[in-house]
């Protein structure tokens, strides 16, 4: 799709590069974010990369929409020139199944697989953090092997424990805080994803690569 720049209210503009979960599109989103943030314009507040879009928050008291969109258009033209930075690889130890991943049996059953197969398939791939959102520190990662792509729960749980590794559709994620959630829970990590008191409050950043390591 041809990139589009549209207003989201009077204090943000949305750059649409694609409308699906696709690594090539998402890399362009991160490239644009890097370009915008390393050569900012006065009035730029921050950017929020998502799967196929970059939301650019700006201060309407300082920067008019017409100027902001013109500036972003010029940045879009330079995306090709951005050399993609080599992503960080973060290893995440996971205890799969049993009390750590109560939905693992139903996921296996859904696909007519053994539990061990689901664990192997989930932990085999290196995933990309396409975006973060939903709550502080929550990484949206993908894409899952088609063999374990599973829809969300029909009825979300009211209480998903902190550190739970889950899947939904072609995505996988980890709950940084205890919260309600509709994803299927398959495991648990003891890593801390979000600590506002820490100098580095977040384990992940958008664009990181992640590998799950089976812990017994």
């Amino acid at each position: 799709m041809k990139p589009r720049i549209v207003p989201l209210g009077d204090s943000a503009l949305l750059v649409q590069l694609g409308d699906e979960i696709d690594i090539t599109i998402n890399r362009r989103v991160h490239a644009l974010a890097a370009l915008v943030n390393t050569t900012p314009i006065e009035g730029l507040i921050e950017t929020v990369p998502a799967y196929g879009t970059l939301l650019i928050h700006y201060d309407p008291l300082v920067l008019a929409y017409s100027k902001a969109s013109q500036w972003v258009r010029s940045k879009l033209e330079q995306i090709q020139d951005v050399k993609p930075a080599k992503p960080r690889l973060i290893e995440v130890p996971v205890k799969y199944g049993a009390e750590y991943g109560p939905d693992l049996p139903s996921v296996a059953e859904y696909h007519n697989l053994q539990i061990e197969d689901v664990i192997r398939i989930h932990s085999e791939r290196t995933y990309t953090v396409y975006m973060m959102g939903f709550m502080p520190g929550f990484p949206y990662m993908g894409k899952l092997d088609d063999a374990i792509v599973t829809p969300r729960l029909d009825v979300p749980r009211t209480n998903v424990p902190e550190g739970t590794v889950a899947i939904a559709g072609s995505q996988t994620g980890i709950y940084p805080l205890t919260s309600p959630g509709g994803w299927r829970l398959i495991g648990h990590t003891s890593l801390i994803l979000f600590d506002p008191h820490d100098d580095i409050p977040f384990l992940f950043s958008p664009g990181d690569e992640v590998k799950f390591v089976v812990e017994n």
Binding site: D10, E46, Y65, M135, Y140, S205
Partner: protein, 321 residues
Amino acid sequence: MSLTVVEASGLATIQDSGRKGWRRFGVPMSGPMDIFALQAANKLAGNPLECAAIEIGLGDVIFQALHDCVIAVTGVGYPLSIFAWDFPLWSSFFVRGGWQIHLNKADSGMCAYLAVSGGIQIPPMLDSCSTNLRGHFGGLDGRSLQAGDILRVVHHHSYHEFVPRTLCAEARPLYSDHPIVNVIMGPQTKNFTEESIETFLSNEYTVTTSSDRMGYRLDGPFLSLRNTTELVSEGMTMGSIQVPASGQPIVMMADCPTTGGYSKIGTVISADLPLLAQCVPSKSRIRFQKTTVAKAQKKYRELMNGIEKNIVQLEEDDAWY
């Protein structure tokens, strides 16, 4: 120098202008529901606009000044009394050590802001003093104020230095029980039928009682989507109007999550967010109207730049003391 919380029956939180720079990690901006009232309170108290103040909502609060201080109170729906006297909002006041400050929830309006001259001293978390209730951080331990809390303030003031000030009524947003709220349409207008866009722009909506700082759920005619499949998640902002498959619109407010997956019919303009924020559930009747980004930004600049220009000193005869 400090203020103590004697009673807090509703939701009273510390908020500054919001947490910026962390939204790409999924951290909501938080900050005030009514940015105009917060900034006006700070200006009246002689503080920088962005300073941390107390947002008071949903119930009554009583504070007690432990030392002499200057405060300013703004907002809608909270009659104010200090010691034994009643005062109008949108003004600054000298408070003697030992006096109590009462704010009692009335039927109209939703929140008031109390700023203390010198600002409330709270260590920032992720570059902001705003309270993130869901994440349990920021403000005072990430929670609502409760009886016994002590809020520290830096500055010292004496009565002799104090000049009472007020913000002219003409400079304030047109708070009303029947507000007209301007919206910039999109980005997913195409996902809605033409009739439902017409419905949205020509009917009255009320805010439901299941609304909170994260979002105001609207009650009114349902909006039909052409296609109810969710979008892949994308960024959103305060004021964005999400419409889930149920057809009941939700306007995202101060604690808005950074991203969402529902179609957005439009976004409320910054200058009119204070009007919406002060709408009373099941009571205020809201009409939405389409506008352009250029007009919206002009209106916001005029509104916010009007704070400083329209603060006046009260004449001796008009002074509250």
